[in-house]
């Protein structure tokens, strides 16, 4: 599927499938693993990240001309942290149950690699509307990944889906899937399935942070150049060559 670059549809498709932040770029692992104990929590986290991502990318793109190049990192951090604080308040007020179950991971959206990575790689260079849709696409991709992971864990681990019982009464839930090890296990298998599909379709597998020379903290160290080029930049190379 070949689409015109930087159009809204292309950006959304790019975020959901071509450069899915979780399955292809392996970004934002902390919330992905931590908040997917149920499908609802996964979607809640995904949607709040998506809103922050869209707003932050839009604003950063608007002010990209007036930020001095050397000050862009702290400026991005302040923009992102402000939106995170606003969303934190809104969730505390309007969705208290979700707020309690996501807990500390809402303020931690500030350090989500996806947001910083997109701010640097896309919003800092592109027009506001493209940046907004890039945020929407990436956010949807993230939400879908969290929804999948949360659904698998909830159905196997608790026998329910969005809190409704879906398995037969004879099924004994495998509790460990909603606990910490289940997160690692399910994500490992889902990425393996994605890799299998890609190898089958003749495309190279996505970025693999575990194969980096030093750091897999791709968005942070590699694209932001914070390591001053002291480490090998595998992820940036791989995304650059990824055929669209």
């Amino acid at each position: 599927m070949r689409l015109k670059k930087d159009t809204p549809v292309e950006r959304i498709w790019n975020g959901i499938y071509i450069e899915n932040p979780v399955f292809c770029l392996i970004l934002g692992m902390c919330p992905t693993l931590a908040t997917t104990t149920s499908a609802l929590n996964g979607v809640g986290m995904g949607v709040s990240t998506m809103i922050i991502l869209m707003l932050a990318e839009f604003i950063i793109s608007l002010i990209r001309g007036i930020i001095p190049d050397r000050m862009r990192m702290p400026a991005y951090i302040v923009v992102i942290a402000s939106f995170v604080t606003i969303v934190d308040f809104l969730m505390e007020g309007f969705t208290p149950a979700l707020y309690d179950s996501l807990g500390i991971y809402i303020p931690l959206i500030v350090v989500n690699c996806i947001i910083m990575g997109r701010a640097e790689a896309y919003a800092g260079k592109m027009k506001p509307v493209s940046a907004l849709f890039d945020g929407l696409g990436m956010g949807l991709g993230f939400t879908i990944a969290l929804f999948l992971l949360g659904s698998v864990r909830e159905i196997i681990g608790a026998g329910t889906w969005f809190g409704i019982k879906v398995t037969p009464a004879s099924y004994v839930p495998v509790n460990i899937f909603v606990l910490a090890p289940g997160a690692f296990l399910v994500l490992g298998f889902l990425v393996a399935v994605m890799n299998k599909l890609k190898i089958g379709a003749g495309r190279r597998p996505g970025v693999d942070p575990t194969q980096g020379n030093m750091c897999g903290d791709c968005a942070n160290c590699m694209k932001l150049g914070m390591c001053g080029g002291k480490t090998e930049c595998i992820a940036a190379e791989a995304t650059g060559k990824e055929e669209v």
Binding site: I26, M29, C30, P31, L33, A34, M73, P74, I77, V78, A81, S82, V84, T85, D88, F89, G103, I104, P107, L108, V110, V111, N112, C113, M116, I176, L179, A180, P181, G182, A183, F184, L185, L187, G188, F189, V191, A192, V193, N195, K196, I199, P205, D208, P209, T210, Q211, G212, N213, M214, C215, G216, D217, C218, N220, C221, M226, C227, G228, K230
Partner: protein, 190 residues
């Protein structure tokens, strides 16, 4: 006594990586060789302890008196970023040997969510400054332990024949799952 329990809980029972999922990026990225894993662990210990202390002090003596607790997320992330820069400059100038050991890992820590996470947890659990700093230190030791164990396993795993789609990231995830199950054993310490 309570402070020792908090330290043991932070280090082993609620291990920062294997049960709280903080600092996963560094955990995956710097675990290929045991030397670099150990270097990263050391750098995280250094920064996390210092950051817990500084964030604790600023929260207690600046944010609380002015009733702007809601600014904690913005304040903490800026403190961590500035602190890392400062530590880098300081060690470069005055402790070159320490800089040699930690240097390349320091800039990666700014956005390591474990650092911000612990600072926020200290506020959430209402720890005082001493308890918060000990909590930060113990958390970092837990991170160090987890990343070094993973790097040892991965050094052995190089010789194994892993099926194609599982190569790299997926097999590391499954290894982490098994480590996480093993760490459940520490729950009995409570």
């Amino acid at each position: 006594m309570e402070i020792i329990m908090i330290a043991i809980a932070a280090c082993l029972i609620n291990n920062v990586v294997l049960s709280q999922f903080l600092g996963i990026c560094a955990f995956l990225g710097v675990s290929q060789k045991s030397e670099s894993a150990s270097g990263m662990g050391m750098a995280v210990t250094f920064v996390l302890t210092l950051a817990s202390l500084v964030c604790g002090v600023i929260y207690r003596f600046l944010l609380v008196p002015f009733h702007v607790e809601y600014l904690k997320t913005i304040a903490f992330i800026l403190i961590v970023a500035a602190l890392v820069q400062f530590v880098e400059m300081f060690t470069k100038k005055f402790m070159p040997s320490l800089y040699e050991a930690l240097g390349i890992y320091l800039p990666l820590i700014t956005t390591n969510c474990a650092v911000l996470g612990v600072a926020l947890l200290n506020v959430q659990n209402e720890y005082d400054i001493l308890t918060g700093t000990v909590h930060g230190f113990a958390t970092a030791i837990g991170f160090w332990l987890a990343i070094v164990i993973l790097s040892f396993i991965r050094e052995k795993m190089v010789y194994n024949d892993v099926p194609g789609p599982f190569k790299g990231f997926p097999i590391v995830m499954i290894t982490s799952a098994l480590m996480s199950i093993a760490f459940f054993g520490f729950a009995a310490l409570k």
